[in-house]
Symmetry: C2
Subunit: 399 residues, 2 copies
């Protein structure tokens, strides 16, 4: 039995929390399992280091930035190993490089190329608890890299895959994945299971439980993933293959408040216009989300899309330079609500329920987009919480 346990920033946020984490790891070890632990930086540390780096440069030199940022996880992994050893459990702390976590050389957002597990396996064979600094890797040339925000989840899943671990547990400060945000709907229920696909849609729809790339990788490597709290012993939520899911229609409802709507009216309806607009936005690294275009009338059409609210100003600036975009409306008083469920694949009527429910409350739907297992709508932000609650009720997610 081999378990990979990943502890996020709040789980190692203070010296006391690190000690609690050590105890948690020891419980698992005592159950007879081999344990590989992956840790994030203490909460706040990465932001602090980014600030330091940006004090000197708007675009800090990547390789140096990676060496800087990687120090945060290096500190927590060392401290956890010190605590474990002191409690009588031999443990070794490894940087990404020492753990054989090889990446390409795209600094500050590197991708894992392969993991050389020689050292990891040797330490495990020696009975040691192996503590790995998350979020970081090393190039073939020996340069330190980092994997981008939330990269420690990715480190954990990749290690679990490479070591063929029986389980990968992601510890955070919430109990698992909920049917919706419990701060909005008190009757929100923790899901026992959710499919990789639903989890991916939830994550991209604004629920911040697991980093998207790590879920994708878990699916690809078939890693048994669980997310749970390090602050209690409640069972968490298992992320499993669709084949292991009971048939549920809708698993959860996600609310994304960080969206703004852009509408172009009277766009000339000829090939290449949309390409011009979205290429210009992509050049500025703006993440365009929902895109809606209707069949045109009189040779013109309306084009709508959403962008993250904090990228709206850059989007405005970009759009103002385009000849195709003249009559433009911006609206940042909107939210995106997404209904997610593998059941949608085989059941019709899911969308109707949503439309009926919102209409009954007098909530106007401004945009709609759908994927195989997700329905997203844009509504006025003043209805955000109400819409989430009535939809949660309509799909009986509290049952």
């Amino acid at each position: 039995m081999l378990v990979v346990q990943k502890f996020g920033g709040t789980s190692v946020g203070t010296l006391e929390r690190i000690k609690a984490t050590a105890k948690r790891v020891i419980e698992t070890k005592q159950s007879g399992a081999d344990v590989v632990v992956v840790v994030s930086a203490m909460s706040g540390v990465t932001n602090q280091l980014v600030e330091y780096g940006e004090h000197f440069s708007k675009e800090p030199y990547g390789p140096a930035m990676d060496m800087l940022l990687s120090s945060g996880e290096q500190v927590t992994s060392s401290l956890l190993a010190i605590a474990l050893n002191d409690m009588g459990y031999p443990a070794v702390s490894l940087t990404g490089a020492m753990a054989g976590m090889y990446t390409d050389n795209v600094h500050t957002k590197a991708r894992i190329t392969h993991i050389d597990t020689t050292r990891l396996k040797r330490e495990l064979k020696d009975g040691k608890i192996v503590v790995v600094a998350g979020f970081q890797g090393v190039t073939a040339d020996g340069d330190i890299t980092t994997l981008g925000r939330g990269g420690s989840d990715l480190s954990a899943v990749a290690l679990a895959g490479a070591l063929n671990a029986d389980l990968c547990e992601i510890f955070t400060d919430v109990d698992g994945v909920y049917t919706t945000d419990p701060r909005i709907e008190k009757r929100a229920k923790k899901l026992e299971k959710i499919s990789y696909e639903e989890m991916l849609e939830l994550a991209s729809a604004g629920a911040k439980v697991l980093q998207t790339r790590s879920v994708e990788l878990a699916k690809k490597l078939n890693v048994k993933l669980t997310t749970r709290s390090s602050f209690n012993h409640n069972e968490g939520t298992q992320i499993v293959g669709e084949e292991n899911m009971e048939k549920v229609l809708v698993s959860g409802i996600a609310l994304d408040k960080n969206q703004a709507r852009v509408t172009l009216r009277g766009v000339i309806d000829k090939p290449g216009i949309a390409a011009e607009i979205f290429n210009a936005l992509a050049d500025k690294n703006i993440n365009v989300d929902m895109i809606i275009q209707n069949v045109g009338v009189d040779g013109t059409t309306n084009l709508g899309f959403t962008v993250p609210q904090n990228e709206l100003e850059i989007a405005k600036d970009t759009m103002s330079k385009l000849s195709a975009a003249k009559n433009i409306e911006y609206d940042d008083a909107i939210v995106k609500i997404s209904i997610i469920g593998v059941g949608m694949k085989s059941h019709s009527g899911v969308a109707c329920t949503a439309f009926d429910t919102l209409a009954r409350e007098g909530i106007n739907i401004q945009m709609i987009s759908t994927s195989e297992i997700k329905l997203s709508v844009v509504v006025d932000q003043k209805y955000a919480e109400l819409a989430v609650r009535v939809l949660h009720d309509a799909y009986e997610l509290d049952k």
Copy 2:
């Protein structure tokens, strides 16, 4: 022309100081020299990390402690490289491991075994400023090590030796080596030159300008060493071979307040007693300094020695368990004053001047010890500053 420049904790103590250090490095680069920079952790950081580690364990696990401590220098070297790149000077930051700084595996006080200069030379050839995290190295197995307190000086000297640098400059917050502590004697003069041997005696006598091991290594590798301030452009002090020294009698006077005296009266004068005592103290890692034993009378003798004041309690505890040590006096109200100069080798009378001078002021000498180029005396601590000043005057060090 290749220069190694080392900047200590206060020289990189704030983001502003790091920027000032970047400018200083660029000045050297602009003069046409290749530059390798070695940096310490920001002042206070190493102590903070030690505290963190000791929060979990009285004796923190060495390899994890080294991984923890090394993060401090990793941060400053990254930040300096970011600053240099932003100012238009291509720079690369390297950890000890990346810089090829190989050590043995005695964690927290490793010794450098060799330096693989391949990477360093490649980066220099590419015209880059190379910023190396000081104080750290790597074992043949890839584990991070640290070199002990003041280890960044050692990193700098070792790199200068391995790269055959033309000069190794150690930047601190003082202008160089003084004839004595200017806070005690205002007329203290900065020395233009001092020999390695004198520097070694000064360092071991309590003057904290350069780490002892780094001076030893500089002497061994024949590294041209200078210590100067990063806060101004004053010329510093060169540390040179004796052959390059003009004939001076006395170079400086050092005061060491961190000493305590231990006196054993009536020790049975037979072989093995001293060995028993000093082995017991060595087992506890207590640094015994001056040892004085007189010819015995009536089969017994008096034995005196000094230990660091902060190790006195452990020393007392250790002594109390020894059968040979019965009648013991402890005195921590003493100081050690050392007179240092290569001229002592060939000139007699240096000691007489000291004894006469102190006697004239009514200062009683409690212990005396001598080496080839050093004369140390122990006196009551109330006379510390007075003794330094009258000796400074007697040897005309202000001239």
